[in-house]
Amino acid sequence: MAPKEASIMEGPGAGEESLGVTNGKIGMWTFLVMDAMTFAGLLAGYARLRWTPDSLWPFPIEAFGVIGIQLTAFNTFILICSSVAMVHVLAEQMRGNMDRAEKWLMATIAGGLIFLGIQAFEWTHLIIDKFHLLMDAGYNQNFPATFYLLTGFHGAHVAIGVIYNTILLMGMRSGKVTEEHTSTTEIAGLYWHFVDLVWILVFTFVYLI
């Protein structure tokens, strides 16, 4: 049998008995469960290393300084704004206003890029000026190790998200993604919101507590 309403965008369609959403959305949700567990593994490792007696773990304020935390808080704000922009992409697409959708999508991508830029600046600064002082002071060497692993792994997610959203933008530009393909945007949005959500966890664990 030919799959129902099959198109290049969506592959085989949903069956008669389904959860009432596209296959792609279930795929993304289940992927996110997997991704969440990867972060859970890393965060559990972080927690275990940090919250043991005599772990010699620096407080965030010692490690990053007030300005450092504020910078990252600002970065968090940027990422949340980018997430909000992604919501607008979908809303405009549903209204059939593809021009505006594209603009919001560009704002989303810009948010991701700014986030990455600030993170790159922060990493450079910490590597050159900051962390070796901490090590000299005898703090746990796993503080920078976990810091780079967690923020780096998340940063890779942001980078992939930026690429993902750029591909979506190219699809909209070339007319392959039209106002009917809301689920394509919605699935990209799921990923982008997830990246945002995970960052809030990472930020809380690494910079706030």
Binding site: P12, G45, P144
Partner: protein
Amino acid sequence: MKEITAKGYLSPLTEEAKTNKLVYLKEWLCSTDAKRIGVLYLAFALVMGIFGGILSLLIRTELAQHGSQIFDPSFYNALPGMHATAMIFFFIIPAFTGIGNFVVPIQVGAPDMAFPKLNLAAFWILPPAALVTFMGFFLNSLPEFGWTAYPPLSNNVYSGMWGADFWVLGLILVGVSSTMAAINFLATVFNMRCKGMKMFQLPLFTWSVVVTSFLILAATPVLTSALLMLTFERLFPGVFHFFNPAGGGDPILYQHLFWFYSHPAVYIMILPGFGVISEVVSTFSRKHIFGYVLMAWSMIAIAVLGFVVWAHHMFTTGIALEARVGFMFLTMLIAVPTGIKIFSWLATMWGGSIKFDTPMLFAVGFIAMFTIGGLSGVVLASVPVDIQLHDTYYVVAHIHYVLVAGSMMTIFAGAYYWYPKITGKMYNEFWGKIHFWLTAIFINVTFFLQHWMGMKGMPRRYYDYDPQFEWANTISSLGSAALFAASLIFVVNMVWSWKSGEDADENHWYGDGVNLEWLIETPPNHHNFHEPPEWKPIIRQHVSPDQPGGLWHAKD
């Protein structure tokens, strides 16, 4: 050149492929048809299974007699880990993924998997991943830390070999592949069922794949994160000290993360087997499965409990006694849902019209011998006993009763059961039965004495042992050689029958198959069904014959 006349999904898609074998081969290797990908998975698993079997033969040859036999100790040290890796990640899991790929879309009444291209990609990650994982064989630098890769043994100081880095990378790739397959299965089963196929109308094999996919989804990434940490620590030893106490790390952390995956992994390796057995027992007893709903829920219970028992692998690492006792009771609790399954299979057979074809023989053999493995698991779960038996051959015996008598025999049962559907041919029943009897006998010859060795204190993974164990080891080694030879019968039977077997019927097993795969032609067509099927809900639960739905195949 002779024209290819295969039927169904085996038939060439283009005119060119009909006469040109290379084009036909390319069509197979690039196919997005779940059935073809399933066959690719099975073929890959077969090759890797033979490879893993040869590795186990090497181990047993070295251990056949006391003293040093053929290898130097460092090569021997690498063998158990390589054997385990080959069997777990490249034989058992791909074999079940292969069967699932073929059967699940048909059983739910879908034309294909939800993401056909992802499906193909997931498969094609595997062969390169195998190459990367076993790169140590080519570089002559095999990792010698077993499949568990515990630091500090696995860090760059004690295992500086390149092969170890490749091994870790390979395992991460395999994890990616199996999570991709899991995502695909879940989307297919949740979203692509045909009309009337409610969740509690699903065949139990499909149910088992659903539960397994959730396990893969939640457990595998934790192994990935542990391996990522290990890789960083190995590659940048001056910066990362996650598992190194000298740098403020904690080696036990690795074990926690590792077993958080690797305990559920044993359920990833056995739950699809449970599903296969449910199908086989029900078909060959000509009865609906006893306690269908409970069979589904008991799998879910095993999956949930499987996530909260990991530390029973770590009773001797010095974790708190309170934690150990808690994990001990949780571990023992798993025997309850597993017992439900065992007794449900027995009750399904009870009063049934049983036919002992090869799949059924394997199913019954599985039930008997897997129970031994399950019971020795309860023994090991007990903290004081485990402290005594930890890292002895008792553990080896336990895991092999669960994985060889469990997973491997269920893979054989599934392969024989669906063989007529997959190939359109019938395998040789006589040699199938010979294969079963040799397998059943030599599993016990190989592994039963290992319980005794373990109780007497023979450590696992060692190059040499106390002379008092020699006679038992010799018997075990002979048994393993015979077991391997018996498996070759299977390989020959499968390959030969595909070429020269008799044609199989649509509903080959006496017309007793009730699920959708038995209601379509053999072998199935490219899109499984000519038009969207409609599933008339049946009473899955076994009820007494005078009740409605109590009779097998009661058609209105």
